[in-house]
């Protein structure tokens, strides 16, 4: 009896967590303009709309441009900082860590309003660089967490061995530290890209009509006039995220296999 209740509860909650996401996806293939079941006729017309309608096509391009820019910026800055934070002699290390993770905590609307006020003075409001730096701020914590975790797994003795064999610090980094940290850096970059792809609130405040991202476009079309295009875009986002996660996992797997081969 108790087991039955347990199973029922577990299945119900798993259903609550997963079904809503799965249940709407077939609607991307409906030929009707309404988001209702049963689907009478299947078609790809909403994907065609996504690829051809100016607003959607532009927003997909913008998401890629802004996502790549923010990922590059946050990954470079975050990886450097994570390397610096490894040092045990660093003063105020825990305070620095808190500051680096803070963008994850501050309510997005608060940050968005502040950025809008400030960016107007810089001439960054409604520009690509403005949106890219705004997104990069939000991506930084994910890079820090991911790269720090992978750096923690590196045996310091390996680096010491390299430098005792005469390698310069640059060589040690290039040939030892960086390759070992690469999986963490890549998964940090993937998290960063996914964060930028999904960001709406800050974009609402700092982006102009020309920087509308896919997420921003989805947000306003749900608000104003929802059509199956939104679900098609949602499917695209899910597939994009899955591909990125798969890419990160594959790279990590290859890395581990190579490491095993190198150390027989």
């Amino acid at each position: 009896m108790f087991r039955a209740i347990q199973t029922l509860f577990g299945v119900t909650i798993v259903g609550f967590l997963l079904l809503p996401i799965v249940a709407i996806l077939p609607l991307a293939f409906t030929s009707s303009v309404f988001l209702t079941y049963p689907i009478e006729d299947y078609s790809l017309r909403w994907f065609t709309e996504l690829a051809t309608a100016d607003a959607w096509r532009l927003s997909i391009m913008n998401s890629l441009i802004i996502g790549l820019g923010a990922t590059l910026l946050s990954t470079v800055l975050g990886t450097l900082a994570a390397l610096g934070m490894r040092s045990e002699v660093l003063p105020l290390a825990s305070l620095l860590r808190t500051v680096f993770l803070l963008p994850m905590v501050v309510p997005a609307v608060v940050l968005g309003v502040g950025m809008q006020m400030l960016f107007v003075n810089f001439g960054l409001a409604s520009t690509y660089p403005g949106v890219i730096v705004a997104h990069a701020v939000l991506c930084v914590p994910f890079v820090i967490v991911s790269v720090s975790a992978s750096l923690q797994g590196i045996d310091r003795a390996v680096e010491k061995a390299a430098s005792s064999l005469g390698a310069s610090p640059v060589t040690v980094f290039h040939r030892v530290t960086f390759p070992l940290a690469l999986p963490g850096i890549i998964s940090g970059a993937v998290f960063a890209f996914a964060t930028s792809l999904d960001e709406v609130v800050i974009t609402l405040f700092v982006a102009g009509p020309n920087q509308r991202t896919l997420a921003r476009q989805m947000f306003s079309s749900i608000r104003e006039n929802i059509s199956p295009t939104v679900v098609a875009a949602a499917l695209l986002l899910i597939i994009g995220t899955l591909c990125l996660a798969g890419l990160a996992a594959a790279l990590r797997w290859r890395q581990e296999r190579n490491a095993l081969r190198a150390a027989p």
Binding site: F16, I24, L96, A136, S187, T241
Partner: protein
């Protein structure tokens, strides 16, 4: 400090400085801008700097001394920035109506007069004999103000400078703050009610069952927030899947109102935030020895008693961390209430966005933002204290 370790410190700092500078400019500065927008009010003191300096010495009784009159004339003679002057006039006119005509007449007289010392303000306009105008000016010149912060909690200063509440119905900020905390509390309670037994179940089972239960939590966590909100937006419609299914099995006759109301917001937010509750409890429970419940049972405790006296107290730290996390994230939510909620379910973030983009009332948007930021920061500090690693469930 040895030379080697000094060099190491320097090297570490050099690696950190780029990110620190980046966050200082693009993260801390925007927040600071918002805070200053809430408390700085230099519209008047920037245009009338001499008046601002001179009027401080006036005690507010009778009329101000002649040097204040002279300072005002001198300031108005040199006020070249028409836009800034316009803002000053608007600001003063909202305090005492009639200031607009009074200042424009005084400005033109001040500019015509050859010697500012000879101009008699009372002769230019008799209203300068009325202390109300001077008091409004004295009120408006301090560069810092608590007006926005008070307005954010539906309070203001009366004529004597005492802090009083706004008339009921004049402003709804307190109501919205109360609503924000209420919705966040309901969502936290719902997440705890589902998340605690779920995490216990995940910790109790093994093998593929545990993997499946954890995967079911992680997949939504990594699915875009917008996709999840879209899903609920589609499902909760009157013609949506939930109402359709309930009607098809004859459970209800007419569709239940699920969207654009409190229920829809709570369902969607619980779904979005449930992983933040499950994962901290689960990680705490993992460190509980598996045979503890068996030990309690072997000593004669019924399963219920063993749960109540052993498992529940042990999972409390996780429950507390999870609740803080869910509550903290929930009070700042914008997208989900904006899309799934009705007019009466908008939370503090929506109001901030409204003041900022709708009415360009930066002061009030900033003041409400300061309050939200303060509450979030306090909760985060408590959370950081409670859990050993202050990082969120980011990666």
């Amino acid at each position: 400090m040895s030379r080697a370790s000094a060099r190491e410190t320097l090297g570490a700092l050099l690696l950190i400085v780029p990110l620190l500078a980046f966050l200082a400019v693009f993260f801390l500065w925007p927040l600071w801008t918002m805070v200053t927008a809430a408390v700085v009010d230099d519209t008047v003191s920037r245009v009338l700097p001499r008046t601002a300096a001179a009027i401080v010495s006036w005690d507010g009784r009778d009329l101000p001394p002649p040097q204040v009159h002279e300072a005002l004339v001198a300031d108005l003679r040199q006020a070249n920035d028409q836009q800034a002057l316009g803002e000053t006039v608007r600001r003063l006119n909202s305090a005492v109506s009639g200031f607009r005509t009074l200042l424009s007449r005084t400005t033109s007289s001040a500019r015509d007069g050859a010697d500012p010392k000879t101009i008699d303000l009372a002769a230019v306009d008799p209203r300068w004999k009325d202390p109300r105008y001077w008091l409004a000016l004295k009120d408006a010149v301090p560069p810092y103000t608590d007006r926005n912060l008070l307005a954010a909690v539906d309070m203001k200063r009366d004529a004597d400078g005492a802090v009083v509440s706004e008339a009921p119905g004049a402003s709804a900020n307190r109501l919205i703050m109360f609503r924000t905390f209420l919705i966040a509390a309901i969502v936290t309670a719902a997440c705890a009610a589902i998340g605690l037994p779920y995490a216990m179940l995940a910790a109790a089972v093994t093998g593929w069952k545990r993997s499946a239960l954890l995967l079911a939590v992680l997949v939504p966590l990594w699915t875009s927030l917008l996709v999840r909100t879209t899903a609920w937006f589609v499902l909760l419609q009157n013609e949506g899947l939930i109402n359709g299914a309930l009607q098809a099995i004859g459970f209800i006759d007419s569709p239940l109102p699920l969207i654009f109301n409190r229920l829809g917001v709570v369902i969607a937010m619980t779904h979005v935030l449930l992983p933040f509750m499950v994962l901290p409890i689960y990680s705490v429970l993992l460190s509980v020895p598996r045979n503890l419940m068996q030990a309690a049972a072997s000593m004669g405790a019924s399963p219920l008693r063993a749960f109540w006296r052993v498992l529940l107290p042990l999972s409390l730290p996780g429950l507390l961390s999870g609740s803080l996390l869910v509550f903290m994230v929930a009070i700042g939510y914008y997208i989900t209430p904006a899309l799934v909620g009705g007019a009466n379910d908008q939370m503090i973030s929506s109001v901030i966005a409204f003041y900022a983009t709708g009415t360009a009332n930066w002061g009030l948007a900033g003041a409400l933002g300061v309050i939200l930021l303060l509450v979030t920061t306090i909760l985060y500090l408590i959370y950081g204290r409670l859990s050993k690693s202050p990082q969120l469930l980011g990666a």
